[in-house]
């Protein structure tokens, strides 16, 4: 049985979530990972995607996140999200417009570095879109 730990989801505009939870699945830049209690402290960037929170009681909640940071410390997990929306209230057009913006970035990109960054962003966003679809 998993033990509860404290989890905070913070966006620049407000504190979205601050509770004891059992597990959180985070889409890290270098692969998805699940945070449980007493994890070794580490820090990771997050790609756009969905985090799944398993609270102590009740069904799991899903939030869409547009990039940010996960900070796993001995006291708990803190996610600093650029933007975070519960999946239920997410506007499906949001990601579509994000993808469009990224595609425009790709078209405008002049050097290789910017091009690959834009291409990567599109891939990440499409992945997030697929994850949301089901």
């Amino acid at each position: 049985m998993a033990e509860p730990f404290s989890f905070e989801l913070v966006s620049p505009e407000r504190l979205l979530f601050s509770e004891q939870v059992l597990a959180v699945v985070v889409p890290g830049t270098e692969g998805e990972f699940t945070v449980l209690k007493n994890m070794a402290p580490f820090m990771s960037t997050i790609k756009p995607g969905v985090i799944t929170v398993t609270p102590v009681s009740g069904t799991s909640q899903r939030y869409f996140i547009r990039g940010g940071f996960a900070d796993v410390s001995p006291t708990g997990l803190t996610i600093l999200a650029e933007q975070a929306v519960p999946v239920e209230s997410l506007d499906p057009n949001l990601i579509a417009t994000e993808i469009k913006n990224a595609e425009e970035d790709l078209a405008d990109a002049t050097d290789d570095e910017a091009k690959s960054a834009a291409a990567q962003k599109i891939a990440q966003l499409k992945e997030a879109q697929a994850a949301l679809a089901h």
Binding site: E8, S11, P12, M43
Partner: protein, 292 residues
């Protein structure tokens, strides 16, 4: 000596002004509550951000390959002053105190032979600084059409600042805004955002936590620092809105009270004049009757 009719008109007009200032005070009070809530809601993120940043930066500080946003360009010849003010006036000394702080700083920097560039956020600051620093102002960002300042606006300004930095247009950026203390006290503040000022990580916990990074420290820092700039701008803008509303509220409160005093004074004068006229008429009638 104004006639009775003049006085009556004047009282009516002051009353109308009082109604307007009273309404503006009420609007400012409502907006202040909202702005304060927004500023408070944004605080946790900024706090966490600075904790994370100081943790990461401690590991990279002093290294030759530290990101430029943290280590600076190595010189401080060109300064960018980002002056955040309100879009509207009628809020006491709010705009002018921020502009004064920025102006003093700009003059001091110029005296030391530094190049000064100014980025204005908010029209009022631009109006105040335009005459003296016409050539130094590089851009004006207006937020007039924005109802509620959010991360998007801050990010846009942040991007602008960062792209200027990347082009080597400046070496040090300082943010000017008013910190919200209370309704009657707003503190004009200058805060350096580039290179980032990192507060030393607290080591009160005894043993320092050893973090693992994914991807590595440098990559995280590279991602973190630009975001930190936007966050600092956002919290400055939010504090600014709260300060503006606070200043406006007390300014309008003063104006309402002044109008009240003026009405009292004019009413007294109006009544005196009226009584004097009645007395005069009575004397005329009595002396007329006596003459018969």
């Amino acid at each position: 000596m104004p006639s009775l009719k003049d006085l009556r008109n004047r009282i009516a007009s002051v009353k109308a002004t009082q109604k307007i200032t009273k309404a503006m005070q009420m609007v400012a009070a409502a907006k202040l509550r909202r702005a304060q809530a927004a500023a408070e809601a944004a605080r946790p993120y900024a706090e966490r951000m600075s904790v994370v940043l100081s943790n990461v930066a401690a590991g990279v500080a002093g290294r030759a390959d530290a990101p430029r946003l943290l280590a600076g360009t190595g010189s401080d010849a060109t300064h960018l002053l980002i002056v955040c003010t309100a879009e509207r006036g009628l809020c006491g000394a709010f705009n002018s105190s921020i502009a004064r702080l920025a102006r003093d700083q700009a003059i001091a920097l110029q005296r030391d032979g530094k190049i000064v560039k100014i980025l204005c956020v908010g029209k009022k600051g631009y109006d105040l600084l335009r005459r003296q620093f016409k050539d130094q102002i590089i851009e004006l960002v207006e937020l007039r059409s924005v109802r509620q300042i959010g991360f998007n606006e801050a990010e846009q300004i942040g991007r602008k600042v960062l792209s200027l930095y990347q082009k080597g247009e400046f070496d040090v950026a300082t943010l000017f805004y008013a910190k919200f203390r209370s309704v009657i006290q707003q503190l004009p503040t200058a805060q350096q955002i580039i290179p980032a000022e990192v507060t030393a990580a607290e080591e009160a916990d005894g043993a320092k936590v050893i973090y693992e990074y994914e991807p590595d420290e440098a990559a995280i820092l590279e991602d973190l620092l630009p975001r930190n700039v936007s966050i600092q701008i956002l919290s400055a803008l939010l504090e600014n809105v709260a300060s503006e509303m606070g200043a406006k509220m007390s300014a309008m409160d003063n104006a309402t009270r002044n109008a009240g005093e003026m009405i009292k004074k004019y009413t007294l004068r109006y009544n005196r004049t009226r009584q004097a006229m009645i007395t005069k008429e009575l004397i005329e009638i009595i002396s007329g009757a006596e003459a018969l």
